[in-house]
């Protein structure tokens, strides 16, 4: 659906961060996350997809259209198939909720009665049926983002770009918005590209994720691989800073091991069983149990006193030990 072929973007004057040699392919109907610290080039990357920025070199191909080479009319046609939502929502404060949702239809020249019917559908779809006549200033942040989402998909978009779409929302609202986005992906087969600095967002809804660091793509893969088995040092640093990785426990007097387990193992009494069978003592130094879109996982940092080798061997039957 979306291909980046050796894409570089440089700016002559300040503005957004640059990108260097990014090659990336995003499949139809997947939820693709892009993580990285601020200034890594995430915004630049997502803006290349709908032509808000054009590549300095390389090609960006979206739904068969070479974005860099698109003429103005082609670009507008492409943009009507690519919705986008923003951290600050980007709604028209002077228009009602219904008029905000109708704007892309109006721009696309949809006749008034069809527009009205579509807006009624959209209001239902995002759970704002009772709020169509209100102005954005009268809505909560979560409701504003629902308007943003409805507006983004109003013209039957095939792709939804999310630029830090939940970063201005509280955790509960974030979860609501993410589940709405996941529903849209499931029901409409939307291809979704999410850029965010919030690791939980990627963990909860994305299928695959790319890690950007200083304008370079350092790693791409399924969410579980990137979060549990990061290969690049930059990824490990990023995860550690977000509290997702594991801190050092150099002061622990015994052996420190890290156990990563997914799927069925999560429901088993791993620690007590290993302790009983091998006679070691286990101290939980850190870790968490969580959920990816594809299933649950756990990652624990354990301090082992006693026969560490036996304990490691026993733990290894439940998951990956490092």
């Amino acid at each position: 659906m979306i291909q980046f072929e050796s894409v570089a973007k440089t700016f002559t004057t300040g503005g957004l961060p640059a990108l260097h040699d990014v090659t990336l392919s995003i499949a139809a109907s997947e939820i693709f996350g892009v993580i990285g610290r601020s200034g890594a080039g995430k915004s630049t990357l997502v803006r290349l997809i709908n032509g808000l920025e054009r590549p300095s070199s390389g090609r960006v191909v979206v739904d068969g259209q070479d974005v860099g080479a698109a003429r103005p009319a082609d670009m507008r046609a492409l943009r009507r198939r690519v919705g986008m939502i923003f951290q600050q929502f980007g709604l028209l404060s002077s228009a009602t909720v219904a008029d905000n949702m109708a704007l892309p239809l109006r721009i696309a020249g949809v006749p008034a009665d069809a527009r009205k019917a579509r807006v009624a559908d959209l209001l239902d779809r995002v759970g704002l049926a009772a709020h169509g006549h209100k102005y954005p200033g009268q809505l909560s942040g979560g409701q504003k983002q629902r308007v943003g989402i409805a507006r983004a998909i109003a013209g039957d978009a095939r792709i939804l770009l999310c630029d830090e779409a939940t970063s201005a929302l509280d955790p509960e609202t974030t979860r609501d918005i993410l589940s709405l986005i996941a529903d849209l992906n499931r029901d409409l087969g939307l291809t979704i590209v999410m850029i965010t600095h919030e690791m939980e967002v990627v963990r909860e809804v994305c299928d695959r994720v790319a890690v950007l660091d200083a304008g370079r793509l350092v790693e791409t893969g399924p969410v579980a691989d990137i979060f549990l088995r990061p290969q690049a040092a930059e990824t490990r640093r990023l995860l550690a800073q977000a509290g997702e990785g594991h801190a050092d426990h150099a002061d622990f007097p015994g052996r420190v091991v890290r156990l990563t387990f997914e799927g069925d193992a999560i429901a088993q009494p791993v620690l007590t069983r290993v302790a009983r069978e091998t006679g070691v003592d286990l101290v939980v130094l850190g870790g968490h149990i969580g959920r990816f879109r594809q299933g649950r996982y756990g990652q624990l940092t354990l301090g082992v006193t006693g026969d560490a080798e036996a304990a490691v061997a026993a733990l290894a039957t439940y998951g990956a030990v490092s």
Partner: protein, 220 residues
């Protein structure tokens, strides 16, 4: 001595009409010219759709030049141009071209400022919908900036009222001219008071109407 008996009320009436004619004529033309000019200034500014350093700098320079010429000078310097435009440099009609030339750049700046208040996300969102620049301006920028634009029209209208006082130089008449000729030069304090009070009422009405409109269009 102040006694209001010696006032020629028909003079005052004519002057009021002249002021209103100059104000409404020049305000309509100022908005008609200044609004597009302000939009172009905004669109040509860095980071916007027509971002063009040379065009923005050039336009800015012209706007600033016109804003920095004292109105009384502009009124005289423009006489040949005024004659070419409207056939005369005298009277209410002769005053309108210089009034517009003085006020339009000022108003254009206010429009540019009002447009800058429109959020970056909003502009990107509308662009990302596949909007043409025309859609962007007419359906997003101007509606969003409407309160600021209306406030700008109000400020410009009040400035025009004070500019009209100098239009007496070209025989345009008006309340300001009356205040200078009778109130100041002939020491008719009563005329001075009446004209100033009428100007005050006019400015106050303009300001109140403007504030009301701004409030009506504010949704933030």
């Amino acid at each position: 001595m102040i006694d209001f008996d010696s006032i020629d009320w028909s003079d005052i009436g004519q002057a009021t009409l002249d002021t209103l004619a100059m104000l409404s004529g020049s305000l309509i033309l100022t908005v008609a010219i200044g609004l597009p000019l302000g939009v172009v200034l905004f669109l040509a500014s860095p980071g916007q759709v027509w971002a063009n350093r040379v065009a923005h700098l050039g336009l800015s320079l012209v706007v600033n030049l016109l804003r920095s010429v004292p109105f009384i000078i502009l009124l005289i310097v423009m006489i040949p141009l005024t004659v070419a435009l409207v056939g005369t440099s005298l009277g209410v009609v002769g005053a309108i071209p210089p009034l517009v030339v003085a006020a339009a750049p000022f108003f254009a700046r206010l429009v540019e400022l009002a447009l800058r208040e429109v959020g970056r996300d909003t502009i990107e969102a509308v662009t990302a919908m596949g909007a043409t620049t025309r859609d962007l301006v007419l359906r997003a920028l101007i509606p969003e900036a409407m309160p600021g634009i209306l406030a700008g029209i109000t400020v410009t209208a009040v400035a025009l009222v004070s500019f009209t006082a100098m239009a007496g130089v070209v025989g345009a008449g008006g309340l300001g001219d009356l205040a200078i000729r009778f109130g100041y030069q002939r020491f008719q304090t009563d005329v001075m008071i009446v004209t100033v009070v009428l100007l005050l009422i006019l400015v106050q009405l303009l300001q109140m109407a403007g504030d009301r409109l701004v409030r009506h269009f504010s949704r933030r």
